[in-house]
């Protein structure tokens, strides 16, 4: 597993999402009431851009006419065919036994911890031979970090 810095948490406030390219894969990072989740941005059905889909709630009826609407904003619906997935797990809700979308471990860490814990391949930087005079800088914000294989 490799940990990748996605964005400062301020870029993905509660209820928002961000779609990013990481290690050649497109994924969506979602903030649900302060909790961060990451899913692959590709629907397992026909390959639609899943993470651009509408967020809705989970509607159940134990018998016809009795409705329970729960978990608003936690069910992602593919923009193409409306297949439903649980943002927290990638689990599908119409065919939970066979269908799920890849989800990744996502967390928020203080910016001060970034250099020690994660890669930043998006920056495309390689350490060169020279070191210029530096000044101490503090990174006060928190950052979203996703763990992906490879």
């Amino acid at each position: 597993m490799t940990r990748y810095v996605i964005a400062p948490i301020s870029e993905v406030p509660p209820g928002a999402r961000k779609i990013v390219e990481v290690a050649g894969r497109s994924l969506g990072v979602f903030n649900i009431d302060g909790e961060i989740f990451a899913l692959r941005n590709r629907c397992p059905h026909q390959g639609g851009p899943l993470c651009a889909g509408r967020l809705s709630g989970f509607l159940q009826a134990s018998i016809p006419g009795e409705y329970v609407y729960s978990r608003p904003g936690e069910v992602l619906r593919c923009p193409w065919h409306g297949w439903e997935f649980d943002v927290r797990t990638g689990q599908s809700w119409f065919d939970p036994a066979r269908t799920r979308v890849r989800s990744y471990e996502a967390s928020v860490i203080p910016g001060t911890a970034l250099p020690d814990q994660v890669n930043s391949p998006g920056l495309g930087l390689v350490q060169g031979p020279y070191v210029a005079e530096t000044y101490p800088v503090s990174i006060e914000e928190d950052y979203i970090v996703v763990e992906m294989p490879g």
């Binding site: 590709r42 397992p44 059905h45 026909q46 390959g47 639609g48 851009p49 651009a52 889909g53 509408r54 619906r77 923009p79 193409w80 065919h81 409306g82």
Partner: protein
């Protein structure tokens, strides 16, 4: 449904020619079609507008029944922005030709003369704003199909323009399509050697199922093949294929899994009831296999791959199946993901492009 690991690489996808037989273009605004109407009808269009029987309700799962990612950056409705349609459909999938089937309501108008004006405007708009700017697109002749003579007049007006490749009806009509009132339309189609394409939807005034009005959109959607079945039975038993032996019918967005048992049942009935329809010279299934073409989206998907092959075997119409995406609607089929199981390459090529190329007489574009 195909597992992720079997998704072909981009280079493989581009090798396979793709002809899309069902693209839904739409006007940019409510005023757009009015620009193509004479003042008399433009005023009616703006003052009274469409009036038809009920039965088609929106939104259908999504606004405009569209993929939620199909709204162009321009803010126009799905299917109304040529640049975005190129980017999201034609270029994205390397589509060689696409047949436009605009479902804008001309055929269902209760005011038949307004329906005729609406159809003329829709057809002129398809040429002026689409085909003239995009050589991959072809148009369908929209007609006020509840009046056979008015429909025939529109086919005669534009039928010699090669930009039009078929006549377009909706499957739910006010009477079964074999009835005599529709025959002048078929006569005109044959005169111009144009297939009649009949698309999912429409409203003819009767309940939208044979069992009355259902509660849910899913019933409307899943039950639509019953309308297709009724139309196939009507067109065959009324004898239109004896009267118009070169007439070609394309069933669009109706599936095809229901057709083999229909042929079994009607052939069986014909052995007992032939006396009632003495104008039929052959078994009903023979007319069906000779005169009908079928588009793929949305196809019935049996749970196991071999069952899909059995279905194709029962159907025995491999040369009549034609790929369609239904873009930009929510039940869009992606060209590399459409089949529920692997299809042998020769058949895949036939369904993805060559059957349509033959029917619509599309040339080979740079291949």
């Amino acid at each position: 449904m195909t597992a992720l690991s079997t998704r072909p690489a981009a280079r493989d996808r581009t090798k396979l020619a793709v002809i899309d037989c069902d693209i839904h273009t739409a006007p940019a605004t409510k005023q757009t079609l009015g620009k193509y109407m004479p003042a008399r009808w433009r005023q009616h269009h703006e003052t009274f507008g469409p009036r038809g029987p009920g039965g088609a309700h929106y939104p259908r799962a999504n606004q405009d029944a569209a993929r939620t990612d199909a709204w162009p950056p321009s803010g126009q409705p799905p299917g109304s922005d040529l640049d975005f349609l190129r980017e999201q459909l034609l270029d994205a999938w390397g589509i060689e030709y696409g047949v436009m089937n605009p479902l804008l309501g001309a055929g269902g108008q209760l005011n038949l003369e307004y329906g005729a004006a609406h159809a003329r405007a829709t057809n002129d708009w398809q040429i002026a704003e689409w085909v003239d700017h995009e050589p991959r697109l072809r148009a369908s002749i929209v007609v006020p199909y509840e009046d056979g003579s008015l429909a025939a007049a529109e086919i005669d007006r534009v039928g010699d323009n090669p930009a039009f490749v078929q006549v377009l009806l909706s499957i739910r009509t006010s009477e079964p399509l074999g009835r005599r009132k529709y025959w002048p339309m078929y006569e005109a189609a044959v005169r111009h050697d144009l297939p009649i394409g009949i698309h999912f939807g429409g409203a003819g005034g009767g309940p939208i199922t044979g069992a009355g009005w259902p509660s849910f959109y899913i019933e409307d959607h899943a039950g639509m093949p019953t309308a297709f079945q009724s139309q196939v039975i009507s067109m065959v038993t009324e004898g239109i294929f004896e009267h118009f032996p070169t007439l070609k019918i394309v069933l669009i967005e109706g599936g095809f899994g229901w057709l083999p048992p229909l042929m079994w049942r009607i052939d069986r009935a014909y052995t007992h009831l032939r006396e009632e329809v003495p104008h039929l010279q052959r078994r009903p299934s023979e007319y069906i296999r000779q005169h009908f073409w079928l588009t793929t989206q949305p196809m019935e998907e049996p749970p196991a791959g071999e069952q899909f092959h059995q279905l194709l075997h029962h159907l025995d119409m491999n040369d009549r199946l034609m790929f369609a995406t239904d873009y930009p609607h929510w039940d869009f089929d992606a060209p590399d993901q459409a089949f529920p199981t692997r299809i042998e390459p020769p058949l895949e090529r036939a369904i993805m492009a060559e059957n349509a190329r033959g029917l619509y007489r599309f040339g080979q574009l740079g291949r």
